[in-house]
Each structure stands twice: as structure tokens, then as C-alpha cells.
Symmetry: C2
């Protein structure tokens, strides 16, 4: 889809100004609250004479946690209501512009990216295009909704524990979190410097591969023969049986494509996952402590409640990082026999906006648990739309690279994605 | 020296058993307290049938902070007086054995490596072979003394802020701290996981190059044309004028070898250096807190006094790490025009044992200040014996790789070393 759009723009079949104007009009009329700011004037001016490159003239959107020169970065928060315009593009945004892309909008984010639901923000909740009474997932809520609604073919997001993959899963699009450090996080408002990743969202796997080629500069690559691990511990089980079905269909697709499927046990997963909250909480608290003291009323109550408790000692924080490293090494050991993992992206599909618990399950944890281990580990992971056995809301299937690169992972994802 | 010794052993000119027996005898009679344990039986058995390799039959020593299978790792502390024998060699030790080296001794360390003087340890102070009333420097005290005394041609040490380079400087030998992460720290008792480096000590630069080739597996490399920075800020000034003279002689040598010398300013150095104590203190305190509570009397009082204050909050520790990263980037910016830096290794030469202050200068800080910035930055650095204008105690000159690799740095070091 992205590739075809770029080709139509390159050939002259589609006029960049017409394309950008059309996208801006649709974003301006968006009923899903995915947009926080449009950059209409600049975008139209650039479209009139687009920079050459693989994305020449393609309209893209950027999560409002990432700096775009000339626009404020508000992070979904009243705390930054008066933020001045960013003076420079974040390096990831600069890469898009260098490839000819045209940034048309800053997109909705869960406040300060600190939540996987997307319904806590200064501008109100983002709404799922598949059912506007339900959440998009977060924190890259607008980046997922704008792609799912068909407004944009490629958006940037960030992922600290779930934030690209979970909204991709809930909105039925593709979300790629590359390996830790693969994309620079400069110019991105930090949540947790040891877990933050920049990622991308697209309507389909081929678009993600094209976008990744542009962002990373790495050529496409084949995985070769493939062993894929399935995680057998209770921890990895979804609550929604449709998600089990989606993974089963993905496994069938992988087998049909010649992959060997291997059952794995990860006995360290509960204590490993338990290091996430103190690490991210402490790093986020360190960033926000001064503002929390000065202007507590500018935070959404849910964000304040989540930030405030993390006042550990240095020793406790350091111990959590040590446990993380030790258990990630054990996880790597447990997965040493496979090239990739396949599992659900979330334990639940999109839940109603503002609802913290569904059928006795904590929604936040259900939307974080299956993705955060791969932020702690720094491994690449992608969520793709899976088969939906009840014909209802989207069901995300996650592929994780143990030995595979992002491009190899996307090749495998192409064999199972239902979009 | 190391290369020639290895060649004599390889050619049969020198019998490995005779060599190892000679070294063991000299170490057993050591008046400098550089040894904490000999591995005589195993060493002699191995010498009778040495493993082939570039170091076949060469006797080496290991700082008693690094695991050697079958021997306890006591870290210079009564806290570990009853430590069981290590069950496996640390990977760096395994690399030496794979190259044919024979580990003959565990060597003296400042208690838990937490001090640059080498006179605080369960087994008493190490003594400088150039003047046994003076310190060796630390914490790799025994690793430096045993090389300086001529017992061993190659020892392993560790360096968190000074601990290979400072004892090398004070004892008149060569000490190489590679770039951060170049050698694995597994099986090494941690002081600070974000500053710890394994390093090596040898009698001369060529031995260090040979040792580095074996440890790293990287081939020797030439630096090409060279711009070397001299740091002009007050921070970098030594207190002992002989150290100024040593650097001046090194600069003359570099110029004679065709290098261009450039003056640099590093206005961020004081706040950057100020992050060292909270970072290392917090990480060390996290390791020791339980033991400090349970058995405070087993620590040397100086170590306890240095560990105890570091009970920061997680936010303070995280802030120190953020400041460190930001200011290291500024340091890199300030040094962007040069390939290497030349400066003294220490602000003072070897001081009397047990003396905390000399001419109003705090000894510990004088032995840490000029080396610790390159642990914070993770850049490779080597201390080599410089010219001694008063004919007295050794004077260490430090070369730091801004763009240079360890091998390139050692090539440059060869042009200035006085040994």
C-alpha cells in the first residue's frame, strides 16, 4: 500500500498536492480523535515541490511525543499546553523528510506515553475506528487510529512496553518495534531511557517493510529456514479465546510455509516482567518529579496515580536493573533454539473507553504483559492483524525476533498477516 | 618482553616448568605483598604439558577480584575470607588459558576494588617495588607490583575509575584499560556495572600490544596521521611538576613522530567528574548493603566509610546517569577534532602508605581525577611510564583514544614510553 502510493506519486499518476490536501481534509474531519495538530500550510507548500526520495510526496503522521520542527510537542498533557514549537526535527523525523515524506500531523498519545489504553490525554480519549466506543490501545493511539481509519499509510510511534504493538493490535494494523537502539530516540520525550523504542505503524506488512527500509537504511532480507517458538507458560495465555485462535491460525500458516514449531518454557518470565514497573516507574518519576510537585493539577489523575508511587531508593532501582539483565540472559537461553517467537500481542482485544477492569481482568496489565518482556530484552517485535474467529474486533499476533532482524521478521510476518 | 618470553618457551630455549617454578619461587618470596594466593600445584602440572598457543607456558597473574577456577575470589576483604573456590574461570581468564598461559597467582587488590591506593586490604597494604614505604596505587595493586618487580610479564586487573592505569603509573609499568565492554566482566566481582572494565598490565608497550592481541583477538593496527589533544583546563593539572615534565617530554616525542598537537578546552569536566562518585557509590552500595548491615566489622574502616554514604534515591541516581550521558556527549564534541589525548595519569606520584593527604592534596582524589573521566566515557586509555625529570619515582603518562582503537593507541604509546 505504501509502496504503491509512493509509486503513483513518483510516476505522476497521483499529484502530491492533491494527495496531501485529501489527507489533510480527512484528518480534519476525523471522528476518532487521532489528531492533535495539523501542519497544513507547510505540508501543502512542500507537496507543491516535494523532495525526491523513496517516499517523495507521501503524507505521514508523527506521534506527539516526537519533535517536529515548528510544532510544539505536547505529549498529550496539559503540563505541556504552553510548550514552545520544537526548534528541530527529531532525527527519525529528519530521516522521513530526507526520504521525501511530508509530515502532515502530530497524532494523539496517551499522556506522556505512560499507558497502553490511549484514553488518558489532555484532548480526551482516542477512539477505535472499528468501534468508536472502544479504546485504540496506547500509547501510540493516534498513530494506530489514523492508519486504521485509512487516513495515513505510515505513522511514527514509540514503544516502551506495548505502545506501538498494542494499539496496532487493537486497531487491526501492523506495528513494528525494532530492536533497542536501532532508531535514535533523540528528540523524543523520554518515558524510560532503558526501555524506550521508536517504532512504526502501517496498514500492512509490505508497507512496514518499505517503511523500515527507509528508516533503517537496511536492505530487505530473508530469514532462511525457520524454527519458531511457542511459549507454554501460563503467563503468556490470553484471556480472550479469539486471540488463542488467531495464534493457532498463525502457527498453521507458519507450518504451511515450512517453519518448524517448538514449544518453549520460560520459568523466569514472572520475576522478569516484575522488573518492568519499578524500572519504567523510577525513570519516569525522575523525569516528572519537579513538575508533579509544582503543578499536580495539570496531570490527568490516572497518570499522576501511576507516576507518584515510584520513589524507590537507588539500591532498589539498581537491583531491578540487575535482575532484569540476569533474567533476560535466562530468557535468551530458554529461546536459544529458535529464530523467532509467535504469541498474541495482548491478552484482551479493544475494551470500552474508560473501563479499568473487564471480566475481572485488569485492562492495563492485559495490554502490557505480552509485549513488555521484549522491551526489557530489547528484541525486535511486530504485531500483525491475525485471523478473527468471531468476525469481531481485530486480534493482534506478535512475532518476536530472537535471532531474526526486523526485515527477516517482517518476511515471516507476511506469511501470517490477515491484512 | 612478553613476546620474547613466549618465543623462548615456544622454541624450547626455556623450559616451561623451569620458568613457572622460577616465577613461583620469586612470588613466594615477594616482599611487596603483591600475592594473595599461589596456584603452584596446578601451575606446575600444566607447565609440564602446556597447552599450545601464543602464550604457551607463560606464567600470568590475576587480580583477586576475577574468578579463577579452584581458587576463592576474596576481593581483598575479610567479608569473603570463607568464600568457596570459584567453580569456573572468568571468560577473560579462560581466554588466557586457551592461549596457553599458566595462571600462577591471585594478586593483591584494594578491598573490593574500591580505592586507588592499594593500601586497604585484609592482607595489609601492597608495597611499591620502587620504594616499599610507598603505595602501589590501586586497586590492581598486586597486578602492578608483580609486574614492576619483574615477577610476571602480564597480569590481569580491573579499572572502574583508575584501577589499572593508576597502579601502572605509580609502579612504572604499562596499564591498558580497553574501551567499555571490550572484555567481558562476567566472573569479575562488580564494583560499578556502568564503569567497570577489565584491563591488563605489562612491563612495556610491546608486551601490552601482544597481550591485547591475545585477549581481544584483534590484529595490530596503525593509527595513520595523528592529531593529539592536550587538555588546557585547570582540572587536568597535576600537583607534581615532574608529571608536567613527563607530559611535556611525551608531547615532544609525539611531535617528533609527526603528530600535530592541539589545545582543547573541556568546560564540562567538573560537573562530569562529579557524577562519578554518586554513580559508582550507589552501584557499590547496592551490592554491599546486605553485608554491611550483617557484618560491618568485616570491612576495612576506610572501605565502610566510603560505601556507607551512598544511599541516594532512585531519582538522584538516574539523574546522575543522565547528566553523565549528556556531558560525555559534550566531552566527545570538545574532542571531536583529535584522534587521541595525552595527559598525566595521576596528579601525584606514589605517596607514603596510609597517608590520606599530601601537601594539602587529597591523595585518593589525586589518583582518580585524571583517569575516571574515561571510565564515564568508556574510551580506551593506557598509562605508560614517562620521563622522570628528577630521577625519582615513576611518572605515568596517559594516552586516551578518542577515535583510536586500543591497538592504535598502543602504537602511539610506543613512541613516548620510556620503558
Amino acid at each position: 500500500m505504501l509502496r504503491a502510493l509512493a509509486a503513483r506519486l513518483a510516476s505522476g499518476e497521483l499529484d502530491p498536492v492533491a494527495h496531501v490536501r485529501d489527507v489533510l481534509e480527512r484528518l480534519a474531519a476525523d471522528p476518532f480523535n487521532s489528531v492533535v495538530a495539523l501542519d497544513a500550510e507547510r505540508a501543502l507548500a512542500e507537496a507543491a515541490d516535494p523532495r525526491p526520495g523513496p517516499l517523495s510526496g507521501v503524507a505521514v503522521g508523527v506521534k506527539d511525543l516526537i519533535d517536529v520542527a515548528g510544532l510544539p510537542t505536547r505529549c498529550g498533557s496539559t503540563v505541556l499546553a504552553d510548550a514552545p514549537p520544537a526548534t528541530a526535527d527529531a532525527p527519525v523525523v529528519a530521516r522521513l523528510r530526507a526520504a521525501g515524506a511530508i509530515v502532515v500531523a502530530k497524532l494523539h498519545t496517551h499522556e506522556f506515553a505512560f499507558g497502553p489504553t490511549g484514553d488518558v490525554a489532555a484532548t480526551g480519549p482516542a477512539r477505535n475506528p472499528h468501534d468508536p466506543t472502544r479504546i485504540t490501545g496506547g500509547s501510540s493511539s493516534g498513530s494506530a487510529a489514523a492508519v486504521a481509519a485509512g487516513y495515513l499509510p505510515f505513522t511514527l510511534g514509540t514503544d516502551t512496553g506495548a505502545s506501538v504493538r498494542t494499539p496496532a493490535a487493537l486497531c487491526g494494523v501492523v506495528g513494528l518495534k525494532p530492536r533497542f537502539g536501532a532508531l535514535p530516540t533523540d528528540g523524543v520525550f523520554p518515558l524510560s531511557e532503558t526501555c524506550d523504542h521508536v517504532g512504526l505503524l502501517t496498514p500492512d506488512v509490505d508497507s512496514a517493510a518499505f517503511a523500515w527500509e527507509v528508516l533503517s537504511g537496511e536492505p530487505a532480507a530473508d530469514p532462511g529456514s525457520l524454527r519458531v517458538g511457542v511459549l507454554a507458560d501460563d503467563y503468556w495465555r490470553p484471556f480472550d479465546p479469539v486471540l488463542d485462535d488467531a495464534v493457532a491460525a498463525a502457527i498453521a500458516g507458519l507450518r504451511a510455509a515450512g517453519a518448524e514449531i517448538v514449544q518453549l518454557r520460560t520459568p523466569m518470565i514472572d520475576p522478569l516482567a516484575a522488573t518492568y514497573a519499578p524500572i519504567v516507574g523510577s525513570e519516569a518519576n525522575a523525569t516528572h518529579a519537579a513538575w508533579m510537585a509544582e503543578r499536580p493539577g495539570d496531570y490527568q489523575p490516572a497518570t499522576m496515580a501511576r507516576l507518584a508511587p515510584w520513589t524507590l531508593s537507588a539500591g532498589e532501582y539498581i537491583a531491578a536493573q540487575r535482575t532484569r539483565r540476569r533474567l533476560v540472559a535466562e530468557l535468551a537461553q530458554a529461546c536459544a533454539g529458535v529464530d523467532a517467537l509467535v504469541l498474541p500481542t495482548t491478552r484482551l482485544r479493544a475494551t470500552p473507553i474508560g473501563v479499568a477492569e473487564v471480566d475481572g481482568h485488569d485492562v492495563r496489565s492485559a495490554l502490557l504483559a505480552l509485549t513488555l518482556p521484549f522491551n526489557l530484552a530489547g528484541w525486535p517485535a511486530v504485531s500483525v492483524p491475525g485471523a478473527v474467529s468471531d468476525g469481531g474486533l481485530p486480534a493482534g499476533v506478535q512475532l518476536v525476533g530472537v535471532r531474526l532482524t526486523e526485515h527477516q521478521l517482517l518476511r515471516v510476518a507476511a506469511t501470517i498477516a490477515q491484512s
